[in-house]
Amino acid sequence: MTAPAPHPGMPTYLGMPAFPAAARTAVADSQLRANLTHATHTIRAKRAGAVAELSDWEALRQAAKAIKDHTLAHLDTYLLRLEENVTRAGGTVHWAQDAGEANAIVAGLVRAAGADGVVKVKSMATQETGLNEALAADGISALETDLAELIVQLGHDRPSHILVPAIHRNRAEIREIFRREMPDAPAGLTDDPPALAGAARTHLRQAFLSAQVGVSGANFAIAETGSLVVVESEGNGRMCVTLPHTLISVVGVEKILPSWRDLEVFLALLPRSSTAERMNPYTSTWTGITPGDGPENFHLVLLDNGRTSALADRTGRQALRCIRCSACLNVCPVYERTGGHAYGSPYPGPIGAIITPLLRGITDPVDASLPFASTLCGACYEVCPVAINIPEALVHLRAKVVDAKREKTFSTERVAFDLSGRVLRSPRLLAAAQRAASASRKLVARKGRIRRLPPPLGGWTETRDAPAPPPESFRAWWARTRGDRS
């Protein structure tokens, strides 16, 4: 796989084709589809069970939504409070307007620590900023320690899911990657998941024990106390935030919560929504520096990178409530078939289809295609633990994309819709159009279906058949048979 092209905002996958082209390739990959169907269907049923256990799920969801909306409306106040409390607890706070600034800050801190490598906890923020590539360009190696991230890194691959970046790989493929790329993989490694997990444990052990610098994201940052929270399963997160001398956490500005007690809401919602567990195996919280326990240096990098643009979008800003659980991916009929790579961004699936264009804008064809990567079935909204109305945001962004196109270029679609608007407003024109359509049915339809329209209308029939126009419209039939009685 080639190295991604650089981009100031979210560099990871630019240069990918827009969603429709990428999706076509993905859908043709039967192994990929089998892997995704298996994984998403497994988790769907489990999530439903974990959620059904709590009779007050909807109340939790509404409380989470209210807390996040409140926080976003006072984001400046809460960020300043967070900075003050992190600083008081012995940490250092940095502010980064975009990916480039964030990566430069991290690289500088790593060098200042005298290190040439970091161990990393899975983090969407650093995926978004392309930190690993930026560090590599600076001669600093970044070791991903989350099992799925490790599979992606060893496979020279791209993540395809928010929670399980290697969801597109099945156990047999993972075994092959380990045998090929992991020098210390045990001889006779099987594709039994516990054996694969054991191989990863052995492979990373020494790196953890000797790490000088750890890099993490955070699921939550508590303004009132300056505490950071990392939710994980494997213990690699605990290793990275505990054992190194220096810890650097890159955190989107929207990850903030006003107070410690808000965790009672978000830790009830997040594990059940993401891995369908009552609680994930490990959650770490830390507040600045604790003498004698954990890193001696703690740096928090607060990242904007388009979040303030999203915040200015009255409908789109709700996407900033997202807690990255990935429930919307797992229920999405489009994601289930295309997988994550087709979305051309670290944020795939329904949430990616709104958050990527909100963060990056819609000038790039990849980003402009994303709001259309949905059937608007609404399953994503139903499972979202912070009640993000994704279909509403998708429709809103579609309108923005269409408006932007309207300003710029001639489009057959535009002309067709203008024309049909005029025809539908006039009973006389409509009757004439219906007569013309009925007359043309022998010309364009075969066996009752229109399979291909001539240019410039061919685009419409590229991906769908249309029914042949009836020999007579309803209005014409009514006038002919009952006209006298009306």
Partner: protein
Amino acid sequence: MSASAKDAILARIRAANRVAGADGVADADAGYAALSRDYLRAHHDAGIVELFAERAADYRAVVERVPGSGLAAAVARVLAARAAAVPGPFVVPDGLPGGWLDGLPGEIALASDAPPLSPAALDQLAGVVTGCAVAIAETGTIILDHGPGQGRRALTLVPDFHLVVVQAAQVAADLPDAFARLDPARPHTLISGPSATSDIELIRVEGVHGPRNLHVLIAEP
């Protein structure tokens, strides 16, 4: 550069909230206090200790309920079983109630973390014995605040075996009560079963980087 980035971000936030019409709200703290929280403070109000035992066991922790008077004997039995399988000493954090280790068989070696053991030394231990700060019945979670009797975070992370003693009175019914009992200034580790992953085909598999063996003794009055 960092001061100007901060100013720019804050200015963009204020402008965005103005544009989106979200800036008319009252003062942040008053607005926060007025948020409605209609969720339950607890999902169970009876049989809390039993619920905790059941839910912790759901995630493949080995859970035993023992009377307080039998705690030392239970600790000795569990450590002896582990020692028979894996050589090496058990690290004991400062502040562990002395009585818990009364009656350990002589062949079981203990190690102290003062002065602090290196990560490599922690990796050679047979295990660690600690208490905890709080437990959550609803989710089967144990919370360490790394205070006396619990040790710094690395102690309960690097060794592959963790024996934790939970006093019945430490079990909170649900998350709200549990978080209210904690001091946010301290570091915390929430533990729900042994280390696990869902990264292969979204199926939970136990045993990655954290302790693969979690043994819980619930001491009841």
